[in-house]
Symmetry: C2
Subunit: 263 residues, 2 copies
């Protein structure tokens, strides 16, 4: 029943919350009068994220926003918190640290509730760390703006809402192509997806569409002819021959099954 699953919004961070609000507007339009959980779990401090999204969504007419925060893994088993997701129409993961998000929710009733929401057609959105967590595999190490080296790259399990992919965010702004190439070199069957700030992929039924002011870079290393992912010295630079690269802008679409872009 893949077609009954809800839409995903995978956002590269710093989405506009004060001006045209393209991305928040698209989310609000799909939710209508529904309830959206703002999950601020990725942040070590609550830091006013919920309030910022209340202001950002205020003029867009969403029915109701509620905050979900977790101090520890015990709270991820709290029935009242699980019920928030069970009763919602969508969930929005704010930024922070994707490792915090996954270490608090992984294999808990909260994670199961997120998947159940998705399976019953609910909307799931995430920005920055909340974008990375939607992939099958998350990048949790590796700096931008350096020659990528094999040992820079650390991978961890994500929410697996989008299979066979690694998502990176703040992509152009933080010069992250190197670490994405390192990641797909380590995991060539995973599609590498780099999303710029104020830019989102809306994914439904295996098709992604670009929304927002920036670009999306997709690296497909599945047919690459050489990769030094295994058996090389850890300080080696990444060597990847014959990957396919797609640079997508607003209006571009991407078939995640066939791995091909279209307009």
């Amino acid at each position: 029943m893949p077609n009954s699953r809800g839409p995903l919004f995978v956002i590269g961070g710093h989405e506009d919350k004060e001006g045209g609000r393209r991305i928040l507007g698209a989310i609000a339009e799909e939710l209508g009068e529904g309830t959206l959980v703002i999950a601020t779990i990725a942040s070590a401090k609550r830091d006013g994220y919920f309030e910022a999204y209340c202001e950002g969504f205020a003029p867009l007419g969403i029915g109701r926003l509620v905050e979900l925060y977790l101090d520890d893994r015990d709270q991820a088993r709290d029935p009242a918190r699980v019920r928030m997701i069970d009763q919602a129409d969508g969930i929005f993961f704010t930024g922070g640290d994707q490792s915090r998000l996954m270490s608090l929710t992984g294999d808990t009733p909260i994670e199961a509730a997120i998947h159940a929401l998705h399976d019953r057609g609910g909307l799931i959105a995430g920005t920055s760390a909340g974008a990375s967590a939607q992939g099958e595999t998350m990048l949790v190490g590796g700096s931008g703006e350096e020659t990528p080296r094999i040992d820079d790259i650390e991978l961890a399990k994500g929410l697996r809402l989008i299979r066979d992919c690694i998502i990176d965010q703040h992509f152009a702004e933080r010069g992250r192509i190197g670490r994405l190439l390192g990641a797909v070199s380590r995991c060539p069957d995973c599609l590498g997806i780099g999303i710029d700030e104020d830019t989102a992929l809306r994914i439904e039924a295996g098709t992604a569409r670009v929304i927002g002011s920036g670009g999306v870079t997709i690296v497909d290393a599945s047919r690459a002819s050489h990769s030094n992912s295994e058996g090389t010295k850890l300080d080696d630079t990444v060597s990847l021959h014959g990957a396919t690269l797609h640079a997508l802008g607003e209006g571009d679409r991407f078939d995640l099954v066939a791995r091909s872009p279209f307009r």
Copy 2:
């Protein structure tokens, strides 16, 4: 007579001048007791570049270093300056602004002398701006670390020592994949070559080899299925479907004619 042409060293900037000096050492080894012209033309001020290279090459046993600087285009017609290149075994272009280098030397006897040196087997090296100038087409505008937009990209004529290519430098360090994608999207027949700092391509007889501590990124858009290079709004993001990307590290080679990497 392509095989009688001399080797090119295309360096991504900030090559090591104090430690192992891999790149300077490779140049010194090929030159032996010969004379190397240090061309500091790309810099608006002489700024001690010549002295820095004298120190960098000092322990490597090059026969003789001489400086070539130009204050204006008239000096690019000065027979004494042209003779410096005619009598040299190699020339090394230091960094600065590739537009200054080309605007002072383009279509002058100095440029002809550079090509004559190459044709008779002399060595030509260039770092940073001096690397960009060796390509057929130079990138002279476009910032790094932003979503690439069509109007960010400005292209100009280079020395054309390497045909059908656009070279960018300080590549990983300045997050320049976006502007390189924008450039090849504008000029899909040109191979896009991004070279990291302390990294060089040594090119001879159509084959390039990576030397140094960083990586080289090659984007081949010649078979890309969609590109918004022409007829799009200037503030559009770059859209390029199905480019081929190669990430090369030390030990990797690249056939510039077949456009394929090998080891």
